[in-house]
């Protein structure tokens, strides 16, 4: 640094050069211009306030560790709360949906029974009109009675105290006593 610095300079020249200012301020506008250019290039993150203005929240000093921990805990609590509420609402909706399905299912079954009963009655009516021969008639009666017996068995499961159904089944039972071929099945009926 001093190799030739003073070799050719008079003392007055040296002092004059040393007295020259080493620093000068270009003004705040240049700083703002430079920061803006760096932001536009993506080299600086946006958010800090310009000189003379209050700093924005983003430009605040780094937060202490406990604030970070608290923020994470609050986030987890919020997430867990959201999940719980979602589960409750979801379960309630599912129960409602099931209930609707079951209610709809009962109605559907009732409608199906009604349709089958109507078909049964219609089939019996058609049989009565078309059956001429005795053999055919007894066979048709046998089929019809078997269907009636099966239907009575299902009705007693739905309504065990229904008097009419009980009498129908008692009729079948009495007839079964008279016919040994029918005894095993009637025994099952009584036990049921």
């Amino acid at each position: 640094m001093t190799e030739t610095r003073n070799e050719d300079l008079s003392r007055a020249e040296r002092e004059a050069l040393d007295a020259l200012p080493r620093e000068a301020n270009p003004g705040e506008l240049l700083e703002e211009r430079t920061v803006k250019a760096l932001r536009e290039e993506g080299l600086l993150a946006a958010g800090a306030a310009p000189v003379g203005q209050a700093p924005s929240r983003e430009a605040a000093v780094p937060r202490p560790w406990w604030q970070l921990v608290a923020a994470i805990a609050a986030s987890i609590a919020l997430f867990a709360g959201g999940v719980s509420v979602g589960q409750v609402l979801g379960a309630r909706q599912t129960a409602d949906a099931f209930q609707t399905v079951f209610e709809d299912g009962d109605a559907l079954l009732a409608a199906q029974v009604q349709r089958t009963g109507s078909d049964y009655v219609a089939a019996l009516a058609a049989l009565a009109e078309t059956s001429g021969a005795v053999a055919d008639s007894s066979q048709a009666l046998e089929v019809a009675l078997t269907a009636l017996w099966a239907a009575a068995n299902e009705i007693v499961r739905l309504a065990p105290d229904d008097v009419l159904t009980a009498r129908i089944l008692q009729g079948f039972e009495a007839q079964a006593r008279e016919s040994s071929d029918y005894g095993a099945e009637s025994q099952l009926l009584v036990e049921f």
């Binding site: 610095r5 007055a12 004059a16 020259l20 080493r22 301020n25 430079t34 080299l43 430009a59």
Partner: protein, 204 residues
């Protein structure tokens, strides 16, 4: 009892001194640069900018011959380039020196583009002498009136304190060229400060 009180007082005093010391220790250039590179920390950039810009601006202003608008443009461009290449800076030299080098290269490019810069080895042209009615001019103005090559070497050596080897490396010339340019620059400066016929023979 008294000893315990004295010990407590001593501890408090020591703690106070340590806290004051911690409070006044400035963040290093490297730490600030790390924050800029890591997260684009604007406050870190502003601190680094305010720390180094006054010196950079004064240097650039002199090299550009006192043109304030050009000097501001150069300073802005220097900071943009420095920030862009901050992650590649290896901190083997001082940040201010590196930044000055960037500013100097930008000055040379501008002077060369506008035809004002010539190769130092060829830069033998003397400065235009001031009007004879102005017997003497001040030193700052004399430096501004030097040919750009002469001016740059004189500023680097006599004001900024660079060695000839550093100037040679920075400007891409030999040390001999740097020395001869400095000799010519000083002679030209003296002619400006003490033109022929001047009554006084000293700088002011």
């Amino acid at each position: 009892m008294r000893e315990a009180r004295e010990q407590t007082f001593f501890r408090l005093a020591t703690l106070n001194i340590e806290m004051r010391a911690q409070a006044v220790v400035p963040t290093s250039d490297q730490d600030l640069a790390g924050r800029i590179v890591g997260s684009g920390d604007e406050s870190a950039f502003r601190e680094l900018y305010r720390r180094h810009t006054p010196r950079l601006y004064q240097f650039v202003l002199r090299v550009m011959g006192g043109d304030e608008l050009e000097a501001e443009d150069v300073v802005q461009e220097a900071w943009i380039r420095a920030t862009r290449n901050l992650s590649a800076f290896r901190w083997e030299s001082r940040f201010g020196t590196w930044l000055t080098g960037i500013g100097l290269n930008l000055c040379r490019n501008r002077l060369r583009t506008s035809g004002r810069w010539t190769d130092l080895a060829e830069d033998a042209a003397g400065p235009a002498l001031p009007d004879s009615r102005e017997a003497r001019i001040d030193l700052e103005r004399a430096i501004a009136m030097l040919a750009p090559g002469h001016r740059t070497v004189l500023i680097l050596h006599d004001i900024e304190g660079f060695k000839h080897a550093e100037i040679a490396e920075t400007l891409g010339v030999s040390e001999g060229t740097s020395k001869s340019q400095l000799f010519s620059a000083r002679r030209a400066m003296r002619r400006l400060l003490n033109p022929p016929g001047s009554a006084l023979g000293e700088v002011r």
